[in-house]
Symmetry: C2
Subunit: 147 residues, 2 copies
DNA sequence: GTCTCTGCAAAGCATTTGCATGTAC
DNA sequence: GTACATGCAAATGCTTTGCAGAGAC
């Protein structure tokens, strides 16, 4: 299942690369594979560290450039949890969703609320905007930390 | 009306300062007054530049520290439009609201949707979180830029 | 007088950029 | 062979911090 996600992501990458006449490099494949393996909400720095473990030759800049590429290719999306660095999450084979995060311990829940999505669509329509991304993050204190 | 907002903000600041046994300094007053005057979605850097115009002695760090103070005092809130720096907005005498922003030109509309607020409350309740902040920003292409 | 606040400059991060070299096509 | 991609190191931009002196209470 993780394997399938990875294949799907790689397929999407190569489709995007050939569509845009960009080059398929081993780095891009390796970075994408590692990114998918890591699970979610990854920092460029965290991904760079993970990559170093089995291919120490991949540079800092390449990781940053690859992540931007993945966003353009609609393989990943940016998340900003206001913790100092941008995080990336794979959107391959995933339901759209939002996040609620504990301000104390960082515990996070993903949720999907259809009524919110619809309201967002209506708002965009009302103001004549073509909706591209939705950044919706709730901050609170989780049950454990409330005790 | 702007005057009243400013007075309200200053009052809230001094209440917070005495509650927390912190000191009322002229810098804090000046920074708050200028912040309110500037209107909304201000960067620390922008505020610093504005301040330099009539009091060149206020330092960088003081502006950053003051803005954090205003957030703690519930005079301002942080906004992250993913444009590289944190923005601050006064919440004194204002309805709660969210933003929809044009990815091309930056045009921005504020909106308030009660159904979204309620859905957020329900989600927080469902997962047992005590809701503290809501970060909800939509990105799209505005009517002008779509033409 | 004490303790906090300020201004300055330096430090700290995350991210981007310039450039020479490498490599996909 | 010709772009485009990469790695490196330097640069950039935002924000924080350490510290000595200034100011509030």
């Amino acid at each position: 299942m993780k394997k399938e996600t990875k294949n799907l992501a790689l397929k999407r990458l190569s489709a995007y690369l050939s569509e845009k006449k960009l080059r398929a490099t081993s780095q891009r494949e390796i970075i994408l594979g590692t990114f998918i393996d890591m699970g979610k909400h990854t920092t460029a720095e965290e991904l760079y560290e993970a990559l170093k473990k089995f291919d120490s030759s991949i540079g800092h800049a390449t990781v940053y450039r690859a992540l931007r590429l993945f966003v353009d290719a609609e393989i990943a999306r940016e998340l900003n949890f206001n913790d100092g660095s941008v995080r990336y999450e794979s959107i391959v084979g995933k339901e759209p969703h939002d996040h609620i995060i504990c301000k104390k311990c960082g515990a996070m829940v993903e949720f999907l609320d259809e009524s919110i999505r619809q309201a967002q669509d209506e708002i965009a329509k009302k103001y004549g905007y073509a909706l591209k991304n939705r950044s919706h993050i709730l901050f609170g204190v989780c049950p454990k930390c409330r005790r």
